[in-house]
């Protein structure tokens, strides 16, 4: 058990290291941050002064060592836009994005799972075809388009919801719906597919032969086994929700990490970009670790093999 844990922890650290290196390389070679910072009318002396102040005049290996040392000590440097620690800038936006991401994920599961399971139980029925058509529409529709449609309907025409910002549950409804609907579509399709696999297993036929009724058979016997691969996709969907937040937060002016990332990339605010990308990678790794641990809870075979 401990061996497995340490192996996972070692993999996690290796992944984080690779991400940190990739972020450093991409940001250093995708444009000059000092020229952006200095502005179009800056003189070479000003650019040199800024380079020195922010450490961009030092050799790349030295910059890399400083960067990695900083990461390990939790110091990501200062934001060039606000002159405050990048980690603070990031952490200030985290609650808004977590609220949006987790609410969306919960809604996506609550909508997608039942729809997919009922579709599987009623395979080839009109309901099945309707739900699958709807799910395709859900995940095929671009977030920015769906978001604007919702704004036009619920804000402009029905005057039910605010069109931008945060601060109340009403503000949360449309960004959540935009993110959740596409995920719900994907979850519904996957849940249907997993459920169909399980429903065709001999032990379900045996349960049927033993006279176990439909609802009990589905929920008690089929669902736990069907949940195992669904849990996997939930971990992946969490990553998608963070990526989707960049667009949805921009459309709804939601003050989260997504908008911060877009603005920081445009203004070459390297410290903030680094802290966001690394934190997102860490979140993804932890989400996958949580999925692995959930496997053990849901599947006794995984538990036994680990032991």
């Amino acid at each position: 058990m401990f061996g497995s844990f340490f192996l996972r922890a070692a993999r996690m650290l290796a992944t984080l290291f690779v991400v940190a290196v990739a972020v450093f390389i991409m940001m250093r070679f995708s444009g000059d941050p000092v020229s952006v910072l200095a502005g179009p009318d800056a003189t070479p002396e000003q650019i040199a002064e800024l380079s020195a102040r922010w450490g961009y005049d030092r050799p790349i290996p030295e910059q890399f060592i400083t960067y990695m040392t900083g990461i390990m000590s939790g110091d990501f440097g200062l934001s060039v836009r606000s002159y405050t620690p990048a980690a603070e800038v990031f952490l200030e936006r985290v609650p808004a994005t977590l609220l949006l991401g987790l609410t969306s994920l919960a809604c996506a599961v609550l909508i997608g799972m039942p729809l997919g399971i009922v579709a599987a139980v009623n395979q080839h029925s009109a309901y099945d075809r309707f739900v699958m058509g709807l799910s395709v529409l859900g995940f095929a529709m671009p977030n920015f388009f769906l978001g604007i449609l919702l704004i036009l309907l619920f804000s402009l025409h029905l005057h039910l919801l605010p069109s931008f910002g945060s601060g109340s549950w009403q503000h949360l409804v449309m960004p959540t719906a935009t993110l959740a609907l596409s995920s719900a579509g994907a979850i519904a399709r996957f849940a249907r597919s997993c459920m169909l696999d399980v429903l065709n297993q001999p032990y379900i036929a045996s349960a049927r032969a033993r006279g176990i009724k439909g609802l009990r058979r589905t929920v008690i016997h089929a669902l736990p086994n069907a949940s195992i691969p669904i849990v996997t996709i939930l971990g992946l969907r969490f990553g998608d929700l963070i990526a989707g937040a960049i667009i949805v937060e921009t459309v709804f002016a939601w003050p989260g990490v997504g908008r911060l990332l877009a603005a920081s990339v445009a203004s070459r605010d390297l410290a903030v970009v680094q802290v966001i990308v690394l934190s997102t990678a860490l979140t993804m790794i932890i989400a996958n670790l949580a999925v692995d641990l959930l496997y053990g809870v849901l599947d006794p075979r995984v538990r036994r093999s680990a032991q």
């Binding site: 444009g31 000059d32 020229s35 952006v36 200095a38 502005g39 179009p40 009318d41 800056a42 003189t43 070479p44 000003q46 836009r81 606000s82 002159y83 604007i148 704004i151 036009l152 804000s155 402009l156 005057h159 605010p162 069109s163 931008f164 910002g165 921009t250 459309v251 709804f252 002016a253 003050p255 908008r259 911060l260 603005a263 990339v265 445009a266 203004s267 070459r268």
Partner: protein
Amino acid sequence: MNKTKAIAATLGAFAFMTAMPVQAQDDRPVLTIGVQTLPQGFDPSMNISNTGQRVTASIYDKLIARAYWEGENGDGANLVPSIATEWRQVSETEWEVDIRTDVVFHDGTPMTVEDVAFSFGSDLMWGPERIYKAGTTYYGTFADVSVIDDDTVKFTTTAPDPIFPARFTSPLGMVVPKAYFLENGMEAFNLAPVGTGPYKLAEYKPGEIIRLVSHDEYWGGLPPAQEIIFREIPEEAGRITGLLNGELDMIVSITPDQQAVIDNSGVATVKAAVIDNSRVVALNTFEPPMDDRYLRQALVWAIDREAIVEALWGGQNRIPHDFNFVSHGQDFLADRPNEHYDPERARELLAQSDYNGEDLIFRIQAGYYANYEQVAQVLQQQWRDVGINVTLEIRDNFAEVTAPGKHMFAHSNGVQIPDITHPIVNIYGPEGIRTRPDAAGYSWDPTPEFLDLIVQLETTVDHAERIAVFEQVLDILDEERPQIELFQAMEYYGIRNGIDWKPYSFWPMDFRSYNLSID
């Protein structure tokens, strides 16, 4: 100067009348404005762009103001008192300026003549070690700024300066607090500004919100709004919906095709302003084959600007006569020809050039100038029609736009001082942003004769002589063609019914009592 005194008296009377009890302040509304992007700070020099001036106009006062509000279209060009109450020329190269003594900075410190002398002195604006590098663009003729007494500052110029008072109406005409600025430095000042304007900074979350609150000790009277809130809403649909829903009182940067949506809503209307800023294609004359004058001229004659303006702005926009702007008032040369579309002539010029069909790189900053990407695609097609191949490169920021390898790039010319010297001095003068070798937009090396004409333009007092020099400058530019003027910028504001506010022909949004009233 009688008019000047009258306006000063009016402002004083207004200040007295508006010194009302606290009860009245509470009744003032909060004005929320949806903008596409917020500035990255508030220092006048670091935030000279449209997004910056939109906000800094409320935080600072200029030494001398341009009375935009007097013009029917927000394009008035008279100079009126602001921090300065009066100004007079005492010799050919000396001016004395009287300063208000009742001005208080946002931090409660009284403003003094020392602050004024610092704001336009050598340390900040025009000396070799100046803090504001762009300062010489506006105050390059200054030789000395000294305090005479508690309410008078003397300015000495290196040569006769016919536009001396007008210089202070530029984006760098603002008064800043000397002690606070020097103590904190420009970067800290940028994030925690202190000015004398009608509103002071209360909250700033980059990319989210700027909240300005009333500066109740404002010398010009109690500001009409309790708070001015700028909210960043990048999506135009979000801004429009917010306005029509009543979540926002005003919005900016509306595309012309959305004007009818707002006008027909019954709750808000659109006010459009032609801005004294022309969108241009700057030609990099250092990058072959763009060093060929005939090629540059061919590029100009191949463009149908009327068609572009008609298609994208419904014909509401104005096509500038190169550096000859309508906002130059009586000095605008209305009879100077402005016909630039002749594809046949473009082909003839191309035939005279050494151009061999090479791909010309045209760089544009993504989303910076409204509609510019669409315009660039039209230009690309119109140039292709006469045999010039152009590749568009969309870049994230201006540093990447101006990086080596471009043949042309999107840029603009703003008339920041209502005089024929502007914007030509800023752009192609000796310290111009496209002629200074250390400037990012460096793209043309004028002859010494041309630069001498620019100096003459700035220092010639005789009106007829100035106009003659101006014509010579325009003739040389017609021949050399270091840039292509396209059209003037337009700004469309959505304004909730019940708000009486006039947009100006430049970027500042003025929320002082003479330009804002709210039902």
